[in-house]
Symmetry: C2
Subunit: 330 residues, 2 copies
């Protein structure tokens, strides 16, 4: 009761005070990157500021893989799909001799990579479809609650970046609506986004398989069909944001060329905008990769960020802490 | 300043008081329909109630045409499309001899109806595509601000139902997230939904043409392509709600068989649910139609509503006021 009253008091004083809510960006060093973010937030959220933006229009979009949580040695959802192939293999004996499934079952990452985009689609449709949305959520939830990262031995939800969690809170405290805009599957992300990031399901935008309404024995359900409906990557991201949010965001956060069009589109909006790239420079506490990485390749977007003065987060130098607890390495 | 402080006080006392926010459903008669709505809201929003639902899960979905605003003599967006055909005709001389455009230019509603679904798609793609989303919004906004309803002579945004506006406010005051889920085009609806209904763009779900990201002379834009991407009607509605919101709503409001699957899906959810049908029974103040109407046909959904005890709003008897000001009729 008292806590709730106190919360209202805080909201009231923040709104009346008319300046950016004090940040608790504790895992950030006192860097140019942090300064550019807090400066932007103050300018768009302080009433009377020439760059003031009403809360309804304070939309910030975040990529997920490599921006909010790690993405090495491979996208976590691909590791989920591979675990599903292993779990489903006993009822698909033909997979032992059939690519790309054979590669998964033999843990042959080279053969898996050789199967390319088509192989990936085959794995996704074989593991992410053929059930109701409710059933899929239960499978994904069970995995996220039990699976462990191959290098850290941690749960995947412990592989989120502490500074980015603080940033999400900081933006929300300053009246921003925060969306996740991920190449990952929307119904996979929704299983943990609310608990881990504080982002409710309706603020998650992702890739999807085709779904359809069906009247089952148990009543009406939504079924997942073995067909990729939308790939929320590259030029797909601005398209999906426009479709889902109906406004151009004023801030965008990404880490790879998959976010390039989203960043460009946000940068081209009216008024003050903020474009931020998380640059993976920390081989010790996380991973170091950019232009030559098959996962999270950052090349053209890095060039443009430097050319146009976008904010680049240097993980090694700008973050005092990467994960809530350091990753155990030998 | 004082108003804002007062608003916080109201929120605080409402939350602390722990009972449904007092309604101002002034345009509603003291009817069974109103009672069923206020009873449902009290049961799901009062802490300690056996049917209590946390605010995050209090999702209510509303059809638009015939549920929030009128839809006679034809869907308003079709009237917009016909106005666009007339406006664009000078640069398309072939339309004078070519269906379905000829029918529009000659105001021949029979020939237009004969052109069927394919004719409709041709009109939509010819009038709703080929420009950026920004340009389309400007065209739609200009129309909505200047066009007049053929029978009432009013602007279309004056053809919204006063009791439903009160209901939207009432639900929001009780912690509901309100979504529009319309067969109409999402980018058409977003032009007025926030101002007229208080529903922000991100809470509007509708039909869409295919959009694509493009690098134009003016920078990155989203272009509307002449191709229908999604029809948000019938079985499409639950699919789109699941995709967009990621939760099954607990309350749904519709008026036609186009809302039937959405209502059935919501009714099949866990816990207490509310399914409401607006029944057009008022030939004097609005229009009276149901099973035999080509617009807003209500047949199977009406049977099921009666069979399962869904709430049916009898416009003639349950609403003391339909529009904010009565429609001028001779």
């Amino acid at each position: 009761m008292l806590r709730r009253l106190f919360a209202f008091f805080v909201i009231a004083t923040t709104s009346l005070g008319g300046c950016a809510s004090a940040h608790r960006l504790d895992s950030w060093d006192d860097s140019a990157a942090r300064e550019s973010i807090t400066d932007f937030v103050a300018r768009v959220s302080t009433p009377g500021s020439p760059e003031y933006v009403p809360p309804a229009e304070r939309v910030a979009v975040f990529d997920n893989d490599g921006t909010l949580w790690a993405e090495q040695p491979s996208y976590f959802q691909l590791l989920f799909a591979m675990d599903r192939v292993r779990a489903l293999a006993p009822s698909h004996p033909s997979w032992n001799d059939e690519q790309p499934f054979k590669a998964v079952l033999e843990n042959d990452m080279t053969a898996l990579a050789d199967s390319g985009h088509e192989g990936l689609v085959e794995i996704i449709t074989a593991t992410h479809a053929g059930m109701t949305t409710h059933e899929f959520a239960a499978i994904a939830r069970n995995w996220i609650n039990t699976a462990r990262h191959p290098e850290s031995g941690r749960s995947y939800t412990e592989m989120v970046y502490a500074p980015m969690l603080e940033l999400l809170d900081y933006l929300r405290a300053n009246g921003f609506k925060v969306y996740i805009v991920s190449g990952g599957g929307v119904e996979f992300l929704r299983v943990f986004a609310e608990e881990v990031y504080g982002v409710p399901p309706e603020n998650v935008i992702g890739s999807s398989v085709r779904t359809e309404y069906a009247e089952s024995r148990l009543g009406p359900v939504i079924r997942r069909r073995p067909e990729v409906a939308f790939v929320n990557d590259k030029a797909g991201k601005p398209v999906a944001i426009n479709e889902h949010v109906g406004r151009r965001p004023i801030a965008a956060f990404g880490n790879s060329d998959g976010d390039h069009q989203m960043l460009r589109w946000v940068a081209a909006g009216d008024g003050l905008t903020l474009c931020v790239i998380v640059h993976h420079t920390d081989a010790e506490r996380e991973w170091a990769y950019d232009r030559d990485s098959p996962i999270g390749k950052l090349d053209k977007a890095l060039d443009e960020a430097r050319l146009r003065g976008w904010t680049i987060i240097d993980m090694r130098n700008d973050w005092s802490r990467v994960f809530a607890a350091p990753m155990p390495r030998d």
